[in-house]
Symmetry: C2
Subunit: 511 residues, 2 copies
Amino acid sequence: MKKLNHTVLFLILATQVLSAQSTESLKIRKQTQQNAKVIIREFTDFLKIPNVAANPISLRENANFIMGMMTNKGINNVQLLEGKTEDTTPAVYGEVLVPGAKQTLIFYAHYDGQPVNPAQWDKKLTPFTPQLFTASLDKNGTSIPFPQDGKYNGEWRIYARGASDDKAGVDAILNAYDAIKKSGLKPTYNLKFFFEGEEEEGSTHLDAILEKNAKLLTSDLWIICDGPVHQSGKKQLYLGVRGDTNLDLTVYASKRPLHSGHYGNWAPNPAMMLAELLASMKEDDGRVSIKGFYDDVIPLSPSEKAALLEVPSVDAQMKTELGMGNPEMKDISLSEAINLPSLNINGIQSGNVGKMASNQIPTTATAVLDLRLVLGNDWKRQQQKVIDHIKGQGYFVTTNDPTDQERATYPKIIKIIANPNGINAQRTSMDLPIIKKVIAAVKATTNDQVVLQPTMGGSLPLYLFEKYLKANTISVPIANHDNNQHAENENIRLQNLFDGIETMGSLMLLK
Amino acid sequence: MKKLNHTVLFLILATQVLSAQSTESLKIRKQTQQNAKVIIREFTDFLKIPNVAANPISLRENANFIMGMMTNKGINNVQLLEGKTEDTTPAVYGEVLVPGAKQTLIFYAHYDGQPVNPAQWDKKLTPFTPQLFTASLDKNGTSIPFPQDGKYNGEWRIYARGASDDKAGVDAILNAYDAIKKSGLKPTYNLKFFFEGEEEEGSTHLDAILEKNAKLLTSDLWIICDGPVHQSGKKQLYLGVRGDTNLDLTVYASKRPLHSGHYGNWAPNPAMMLAELLASMKEDDGRVSIKGFYDDVIPLSPSEKAALLEVPSVDAQMKTELGMGNPEMKDISLSEAINLPSLNINGIQSGNVGKMASNQIPTTATAVLDLRLVLGNDWKRQQQKVIDHIKGQGYFVTTNDPTDQERATYPKIIKIIANPNGINAQRTSMDLPIIKKVIAAVKATTNDQVVLQPTMGGSLPLYLFEKYLKANTISVPIANHDNNQHAENENIRLQNLFDGIETMGSLMLLK
């Protein structure tokens, strides 16, 4: 009786799976399972090559390794795309042109990783020696050898720098193409591949590479494979990114540090002045009180608003995981919050705390502000709103240390270094026909919800693709949310890698 | 005609001087002038002995040197006063008991100095190699040899660690006794001498020394010779000191640093929380807004209020010198400000600024507060007022890093480490007969105003003299205000040393 029930349950589940997932998607999955041993061996070889900016020679080794992968998989016209000169880290390009195809998809991932401090990694780990664990270290995963039979449990994890961010992206894209080819599936779009090597360094030469190779890189859509899936484990698509810029503020008080006894109460305290200035920038309910801060914002479209309502709430889960108090803005959800411009204090410093503290009135107080922008905001205009607010608080604003003359003239002086670089937000409409097809294709790989996010909270220079190529973009992340990207103990959950191959393969078969 | 005028002018001035200054004072001055070569040679020998806490052996050498000075000058019962054990730095004691005297004065100075960082000193200087300059370095003074004829210009300066703070005090006291003795002047009070060796280290063992030697140290008044004269150059007397204590505050947000893009606007920012909390502690007019902060304050007496009105204003001079804006409290003078309790931010820190800054939401934000107290304030009660204010701002207050349970329970969490040590303020009444005599004696050494300050802004553990000896105290500083005490390039203006000898000598002749 018990056995029968199980069998019945299995059949019901299988039916549900089949009803939600396309035959093509399942073929890619099967092919990936059969090829798992080769895929993982190639992936670990890839992870063994250090990929940090401090070591540009090894970044070129990564690029060469990727060219080899592409050539092996039958991708054509494989080449390095250099910036203005050849002393910067190149992107890797390849293509599969489909006879008769009128449209082109271009798949993006990056092969460079964040810097590593091995001392911060778990003692069992070495950043560029990939290792297999039965689960995450947090959940007491144990180290096991890579299996000889090619049978992998989806919950297992590979630990190494770049395992998720973003060599998993490179690997998923290339193995997706390999799987559709080996499964006899035929793309109807031209496929192009673009793997960047300077993403973690701020994409310093991406503009030059795009501008120089604009014709080669013509496409109808960039598919950005980077970042994690939803915290709930569901697949998700990002239609945009927030923009970003910074301001450095320094408030000036006395020229020399003063004894807090002999002058305390009388001489102005720059830390208190800065505290009051920063506090003036937010209302009691956490909203930014700077005049016009929320102006310029282009409201979400009906489709985007509808999508936002469908985003599963992870607020309670994240509050517990982070041990944090109430959200900064009253009654706001995480997904609502990231669709608004933000003002964040990255750091603040004046005098000394801890063992170096002394009873003094410091001479200056400094804060670094991070401004995130949404569609409609202009990063220079947003900086100016903050500067105008500070002027409204009675400050004389300068971009240098104040002169004696300025000190004698103005009671309140602040130096503001507005970052000369900024990124505007980017958002692709959910209503574009090609975007609707992408959403449908990803939905066809899962029987679970696909989370549609109008924007991610973070920033990527996607405006460069708009600027130099007039191209649309969509981000299709594949890594597990707890992958420790940018930090120690980076890892990829194997099922996320396998699911990622399936997702990318399905997108390559867009109709 | 011209010559005649000058002569007349001289006679008028000389008459004015004579009318204000006592014959005894002038005798001490004459004796000091005659003995200047010996005094300066002994002083420079004294300054050559390093006197920093890092070198306790050389501190004992200083103590031995002082014992030699005292014995040479005919002071009796010279001895070291040890703390509970002999591994701490001793005080040096001596006395001159006057037959028939019913009252006793005890003269205090300290022989230890602040730490030195020779790299921060002017290249022409070495901290423990005293050198003579024609003026202060700021005013382009040049190095000259010590004159063989013993003729010193009062504007010349000796540069060395301890030159003003406070070996000048030791030197002025001992040479004052030498001068009155050599001038045939007779004290009517018993005279005692007490030279501390741990003042710059926080007088860590002063309580033990006072308690252990309470009987030996019996007196009617402690005369504390430390610190600078008024910024105007006038002599001044301090009747008290502010008290002092500290609080370390740490506000907690998320357990791990967060990406300011993915979580900015949603996750609470501890730097902003701390800024808002600190800003809540002051009114717009700069007054502390913490409930009851100015309660407990014992108002100044009529004499003290009258004295305060007579303090020459240095506000405009100091504002220019410090290049500062308006005073923290609206429409307040420096001398009024130091007669109120204060709340000062010594330091504040969260995340990073400058090159280490990154787009993150920090996990914590820390500030160190310094509370200065006036008579009537109790340091523990003053700490509690701040703690209660913070609770009133919705914070859960803990003395440890918060537990997960506390994080889940309280939206706003702060760790407060209230310094377990504090000093209450001390103020001696200007109306005591012995204080009136001291004021009169100092006035008799000058034809200029003597500035009477009810309190100094800084803190000294004068409450210890009250606690262990039930003793009254008065501070009689002698150094020039621009002596760079506690910093590099410490110096004494010679006229301040000579005037100091005259002041101390006149006090030893109190009637």
